[in-house]
Each structure stands twice: as structure tokens, then as C-alpha cells.
Amino acid sequence: MATRVLVVDDALFMRKVLSDILKREGMEIAGEADNGKAAIDKFTELKPDLVTMDIVMPKVGEIDGGLAALKEIIKLDPNAKVVMVSAMGQHALVVEAIQAGAKDFIVKPFQAARVSQALKKVLSGESSAA
């Protein structure tokens, strides 16, 4: 059974690029979200095997970006597998995300090999937790 992934990014183009990589890896796109609040709602509804979460996204309601959404998802499911998506220079946010429960991170622009490596590592139960 294919791994079901929830792809979260406020950029339509990035959701497409990442989804194309994931599909080539044999994964199924369970759903997409373009902000943290929608990500939490979709996570609850779809119960994906894995979530890719952009770190910086517009605030919607009380949820300000991917870091806030991650924390809410971890509260809902401490075993949730969330991989953060960051841009260059967001090291501090990545560290905070890992400490909050994210399993790994990938950096834009995506290298398909790096994405594949990170997701396989997370699905096998490994993480980048400090």
C-alpha cells in the first residue's frame, strides 16, 4: 500500500514540485494544504502516513505558519511523521521544528535524491532529532 502524504505549502508551485517527486517515489498524495490551520484540519480528516510542512506560511486564525501547525499536529498525534520544508537560511527555525517533534527537514530547492532519502529515513523510524 502506497505511503499517503499530506503536502503543506502556501506556494502552489512548490506543492506541485514536491508532489511530483513524491509520486515518482511511489507515494500517494492524500491531500494538500496552503496554510497551517488547513494543515491541521486535513491531518485530522485524512490521517496521512507522512506530512511535509513548509516552515514559513501566512498566519490563518491562531495558527502562524508551519511551526505552529507542527506543534498542534504533534499534540494530536505524538507519533506523527512530519518533515519540515525550509528555504535557505532558516536554520534556526529548522532546529526549533526538530525540537518540537519534526522528524527531518528538506531544503528548497528540492533535490529529488535528498527528498527521497529524508522520507525513507523517516518512514523507517529514524529521525534527525537532536
Binding site: M57, G89, A92
Partner: protein
Amino acid sequence: MPENTQSQGGHHLDVLKEIGTMGAGRAATALSEMISAEVTISVPDAQLIRSEDFSKTIARPNEAYLVLVIMLEGELGGRVFFMVSPSEARLLGSLLLGMPPEQVNFEDPLFQSSIKEALNIIVGAYMMALSELTGFEIMFSIPYLAMDILTAVFIADQTPQKSEELIYIKTELTVKGHNFGGSFVFFPDIPSIKKILNALGMEVPKALQEKLSKDEKPNG
């Protein structure tokens, strides 16, 4: 030729050029990964210029550009702009979306998203170079993409305590035989321009120092 601070010493230009070279190199690598094609760069043109001279610096100042606008947060404040001409945006969009340039539709949300993300990644490359050379941690707001003549974009900029000096880096990239140019403009706030110059070991030009001293005095 617009007046700039070049006459006040070549050292700071070398440093700015280093930011440009490092940033452009990383930007070329990032762009190459996005479009799965080789990207080469020219040696960038880097200047510290007065904002009033900016329109004399760029080609076609009265034409519309696509401009990515990002507000800085953290240890350095101000605004960053990265601008490309519509023809360059069309070329970049065609490479990102894998379609002929003539099929690129500026109204297409996917095209707009692709340009915004590509320029955001390129800006990140330049800002990482600045961060590494200055030691400051630089954080960004969520960017927005505007298409307008540059003076309109700059007038709309509400950066508080905006300095009158800006860092301008013009870069030429070559992708699949096409030349693609972009301009990076960093409009720091007043405290930040001084922090940057000090961190880069650049002597603050006397005229700028006097201005900074005057602007830092409380109004009264």
C-alpha cells in the same frame, strides 16, 4: 553616471562584490536544481548607491518589472527587492514550468507561484551570503510579488527609518543559452546599514556617518 560611494574607497566595493559573487553562485546552483539545467553566472556588479540615484542605475526605469518584496526581521531590518523584467520572468517561467516561453500566461496562478518561489530562493541565496559575511542572523517575512514600475514599488515601501543608501547587485545568469538577469536591492533601515558596514570592516563614509548621526538624534 549616478554618484555613488565608489570614490570613498575600493575596499567596500570588494566586500559588496564578494556578497554578490557568493550570492549569485548560490543562486545559480539553486536555479540549476530547480530547472535541472546548467546555470552559469557572470561576475556581478555590486554598488552601494543612494536611492535617489537608483533609477539612473537600472535600465528602463519607467517600465514595469516583476519585483519580489521581502521584509527583513531579526538582527537586520529593511526591505529586499529582487526584480526581473517581464521578458526575463517569461523565460524563467518557461524553464520552471517546462513549456515554451510563448505559452507562459502571466495570469496563471502556477506561473506567478513559480516566479515567486524562484525569486524567493534566489534572494535567500544572496541573504545567506550577507549573513555569512556579516555574522548576522537574517530572517524574512513572507514575500509578495508585485508588477509595477520600480518607483511605485519603492514609494509603497513603508520600511521605517529607511536609509538612503541601498545595496544594489546586478547579476547575469546564462541558462540554456539564454541570458537571464536579475537585480538584488537591499534597502536597509538606518541602524542596519551602519551594522553592516561595521561588520564588513568597511569604513563608514563621512557623509553617511554625518547623516547617520543626524538621523539618530531625536526629533525636537
